[in-house]
């Protein structure tokens, strides 16, 4: 539902240099990261940013490869907007918002070749590792794409292969071998409200945005994926500013991965 009163209010505060929670335009809410917190997963991470809290789990399985890539493992990223995490989410088939969130996070990891899928091949044409990354919010107060993508990389980084006995996976034990993760892509979403560009939007700010742009960065500063959202267009000047803002923010966030 359109929320013009809230939008006016947020815009008026922005004109005077304030966000509703007192933050600066380029400031993240306080973030905590915990890895390896879910014992049933091969890799996991839990992120809390302001009041947004989510868990990402990594599960591995041995399967037949796709026919057109017989020597490559498979990577799948899922994100569900769980109705537990926000009154606006309903139970039922995945909404288009959850599909977009999953696909944007997925592209960041896939297009950067963050996972060396060739290293996941056990037997060409017969057996490869499948990596499933699932993003599950517990409390949604905005910025799921950035936080989900960040937690996904943290989870992949901490993940270990399960032991394989006689060709069958034994999920109870892990090897000490980590996944072939060669890049750490981090998505950053910048939203536009009027003339203002903001980092790490809350749910309220997201609900009144004019436009948003998610850019995924690699450690050396290269961009590996982008997604524009929102009903309004952005100018090329906007784009330049967003690129710079997001780049800086991704470096800040990257420090927390250590």
């Amino acid at each position: 539902m359109a929320n013009t009163q809230l939008k006016e209010h947020i815009s008026n505060a922005l004109k005077k240099g304030y966000r509703l929670d007192g933050r600066k335009m380029d400031e993240f809410r306080p973030i905590t990261l915990k890895v390896d917190c879910i014992r049933t997963a091969e890799g996991s991470a839990r992120v809390q940013c302001g009041e947004t809290e989510l868990i990402v789990g990594v599960k591995l399985a041995l399967e037949k490869p796709f026919p057109d890539t017989p020597d490559e493992g498979i990577l799948m990223v899922g994100a569900e907007l769980l109705p537990l995490s926000n009154p606006a989410f309903e139970s039922g088939p995945p909404s288009i918002e959850s599909i977009e969130t999953a696909r944007v996070i997925d592209r960041g990891i896939r297009e950067s070749h963050a996972i060396d899928t060739r290293a996941l091949c056990i037997e060409k044409g017969q057996k490869v590792w499948t990596i499933n990354v699932d993003v599950c919010p517990l409390n949604h107060d905005g910025n799921l794409i950035d936080l989900g993508g960040f937690a996904a990389i943290a989870a992949l980084k901490s993940a270990k292969f399960p032991i394989v006995k006689d060709g069958v996976v034994d999920y109870k034990e892990h090897e000490s071998k980590a996944l072939p993760l060669v890049e750490c892509p981090i998505p950053i979403t910048v939203i536009k409200i009027g003339e203002n560009l903001l980092i790490d939007p809350t749910e309220d700010e997201e609900s009144v945005l004019d436009a948003r742009l998610t850019i995924t960065f690699l450690e050396n500063g290269d961009v590996c994926s982008m997604q524009k959202g929102g009903d309004e267009p952005i100018t090329t000047e906007d784009f330049d500013k967003i690129l710079e803002l997001a780049g800086k923010a991704s470096q800040e966030l990257r420090k927390k991965l250590r």
């Binding site: 599960k59 899922g78 537990l84 009154p87 499933n132």
Partner: protein
């Protein structure tokens, strides 16, 4: 087959360590998490709120709607495919049945109280953990309830009657264990959830139920403390 010592060293009538906390999901009207051993359940309550579709509305009282779901990485083995399964739909329904008898929803005709339960990690006993988390979450949301509902399992491993089977015990001896999830209203001792998997004699079944009843006060205390702690931590 003989089962004389539990895998994790517990006594036969000892539950796994329990932990519970209220108010963990800020967007919800009420919420809680409940952990027993490695099984961890989160519950969020939204409501009473408007009920759609309209044909489900009851003009005499509010409706309770429960939804049980396992996060894809929460299963002890392979990944669990997201989305409702027959199993999760059945568990959602028995969860509703377990909680409904204690609720008073007559002040809210045509409205619904939605309870969402998510499991982040499971090691047997997940439906009971979900019911415990939901009990706390409903009270946290200010819903009028005559009592809180406690839930856990009891059963037989090998030839031994035990309380709160963990994952290893469930699969003992080619899955021949008896697993009985139950839920109680502590103040009256009434049973609101009763299911069973396995094969057991009536005499052993009675032993199981008697052993189960003894655990209720301890579990109730954990649920009550979770709520009270929320208001004393300053």
């Amino acid at each position: 087959m003989n089962y004389t010592k539990r895998f994790d060293g517990r006594k036969f009538d000892e539950l796994r360590p329990i932990e519970a906390k209220a108010g963990v999901i800020k967007k919800a009207d009420g919420s809680a998490y409940f952990r027993i051993g490695k099984t961890t359940a989160y519950a969020a309550v939204y409501g009473p709120r408007e009920l759609y579709p309209k044909f489900m509305q009851d003009p005499k009282q509010g409706l309770l709607r429960c939804n049980y779901n396992m996060m894809p990485f929460s299963g002890a083995g392979e990944r669990v495919r997201p989305g409702p399964s027959r199993r999760s739909k059945e568990i959602s329904m028995i969860t509703e049945r377990a909680l409904r008898p204690v609720l008073d929803l007559k002040d809210f005709p045509n409205a619904v109280v939605d309870v969402f339960i998510e499991l982040t990690e499971t090691d047997a006993g997940s439906r009971c953990a979900g019911i415990c988390a939901a009990s706390i979450a409903l009270a946290d949301a200010g819903i009028i309830m005559k009592d809180m509902v406690v839930a856990y399992s009891v059963g037989k491993v090998g030839d031994q009657v035990v309380v709160d089977l963990d994952g290893d015990e469930e699969h003992f001896d080619h899955n021949s264990s008896v697993d009985i999830p139950l839920a109680f209203i502590p103040s009256t001792g009434e049973i609101t959830l009763l299911q069973m998997d396995g094969r057991i004699s009536p005499a052993d079944l009675r032993k199981c139920l008697a052993m189960a009843k003894e655990q209720a006060p301890a579990v109730l205390q954990v649920l009550q403390k979770a709520l009270k702690d929320k208001y004393t931590m300053e």
